[in-house]
């Protein structure tokens, strides 16, 4: 009879009983809804043990990779440890290893790699007095020895202003993670990818791109970086270098207003640009990162152009007070 550990307690599960029913029976108030694998309210994460067959029906590849399960569909065959998906993860002290302005308003930070992560995930920084800010991880755990963050400096940003004026190398930050499932999954190596990011939405995409290449992705990868103007474009040299050394990678920079006449940056509306170059996104894997309004609009556009929802991955940045 398998035992499930949840929240520090151990619960035996009867043979042929679902994980959800077993815990409900023992008065553990697990969230749930339809009990039929459709509503996904019972989503939890397996942190130890073998994931039961049928426990991941309907989940995205990225969620499966991260060990998410539907407890209403899980029939454990051996011992398991589960937790809530966004549960209180432990916090770590990470040291600032490097500090560099990547553009006029983007600060690049390298922190000690205090936890493992998948490229594209994000973390919470716990700053003084209950100021918590989320930043996407731009590095790749398998390649880089550090956690890289791209911090947008915002005029009245509580954390970003402090970071710009006070944070320095060797200082410590309290971080918690990794969170999120906008990650690369190696389940379709030939799938063409469309990575679209606005502003510091580039951060997770930079990681996902290099992660895909590192894991042997074969399909064409088009990275489109959008910004208001040329000052908003950063990491241009690094991205052009990646495109040069990898035939399958193409990088596009698109800005709304442009002053210089160089050809590496296009002036266009981002949505029109994508529509013109990718009139059909059928069979594409799509990754969208940046402001919520952009993610929502581009997700709809790419979906209507043919990409399946299962293949659209996104990380929407929300503003903080």
């Amino acid at each position: 009879m398998p035992t499930v550990e949840f929240d520090g307690q151990f619960y035996p599960i009867d043979a042929n009983e679902t994980l959800l029913n077993g815990l409900l029976r023992q008065h553990v108030g697990l969230p749930h809804g339809c009990k039929a694998g459709a509503c996904q309210c019972c989503l939890m994460k397996v942190t130890a043990g073998d994931i039961p067959k049928t426990a991941q029906v309907g989940l995205k590849e990225s969620q499966k990779q991260l060990g998410y399960i539907l407890t209403c569909c899980a029939k454990p065959e051996s011992d398991l440890k589960i937790c809530e998906v966004n549960n209180a993860m432990p916090k770590f002290e990470a040291e600032v290893l490097a500090y560099k302005m990547l553009s006029a308003d983007v600060l690049g930070l390298h922190l000690t790699k205090v936890f493992d992560f998948k490229a594209g995930q994000y973390l919470n920084i716990w700053h003084a007095n209950n100021v918590i800010r989320s930043y996407s991880i731009a590095s790749v755990a398998e390649i880089d020895d550090y956690i890289e963050l791209h911090v947008k400096i915002i005029p009245n940003g509580v954390f970003s202003q402090w970071a710009q004026h006070h944070l320095k190398v060797k200082d410590k930050l309290t971080i918690q993670g990794p969170i999120g499932h906008c990650i690369y999954s190696p389940n379709n190596l030939n799938q063409p990818f469309l990575l679209i990011g606005v502003g510091t939405g580039l951060a997770p995409l930079y990681g996902i791109l290099r992660d895909a290449l590192n894991q042997g992705h074969q399909g064409a990868i088009d990275l489109i970086v959008g910004a208001k103007n040329e000052q908003g474009i950063y990491l241009q040299a690094e991205l052009l270098q990646l495109a040069q050394t990898h035939d399958q990678v193409k990088v596009h920079f698109v800005v709304q207003t442009k002053i210089t006449t160089g050809s590496t940056i296009s002036q266009d509306d981002l949505y029109d640009f994508v529509k013109k170059r990718f009139p059909s996104t059928k069979h594409y894997g799509v990754f969208l990162c940046g402001a919520e309004s952009f993610v929502r609009k581009m997700k709809k556009q790419c979906f209507l152009a043919g990409a399946n929802m299962q293949d659209i991955h996104s990380d929407a940045f929300l503003p903080c007070s």
Partner: protein, 117 residues
């Protein structure tokens, strides 16, 4: 073999949902109901709806359908639009016409709940 098994079970739901959802989003009669919603969350609901319509394991009850649509002031036109898009999706997927009729029948069975009548 049950209807759900005949048309391909959960895999059929997966194959149908993107096609169905796309049709709904470009159907002027009903697309506005989906403005500004979280597409991923909505997809989960679409899958649950299709599972029910395909005779799958019971996910939505009439009560759920009523509560979910109550505040929308839906009319026959709206309901018919959804069933039409569903039928078109199934035709595109090559589902047998008798099965499409049966599925339309299941959808019709929650009409009063959806229209809050």
């Amino acid at each position: 073999m049950s209807l759900f098994e005949r048309i391909g079970g959960a895999a059929a739901v997966d194959a149908a949902v993107d096609i169905f959802y796309r049709k709904v989003l470009v159907d002027d009669r009903i697309s506005h109901f989906f403005d500004g919603i979280d597409m991923d969350a909505q997809l989960v609901k679409q899958k649950a709806f299709l599972t029910m319509a395909f005779g799958g394991p019971n996910s939505y009850s009439g009560k759920d359908m009523r509560a979910a649509h109550k505040h929308m002031n839906l009319t026959e036109t709206h309901f018919d639009a959804v069933v039409e898009n569903l039928a078109e999706t199934l035709t595109e997927l090559g589902v047998a016409s008798e099965d499409i009729s049966e599925i339309a029948g299941i959808a019709a069975s929650v009409k009063d709940d959806v229209l809050n009548r």
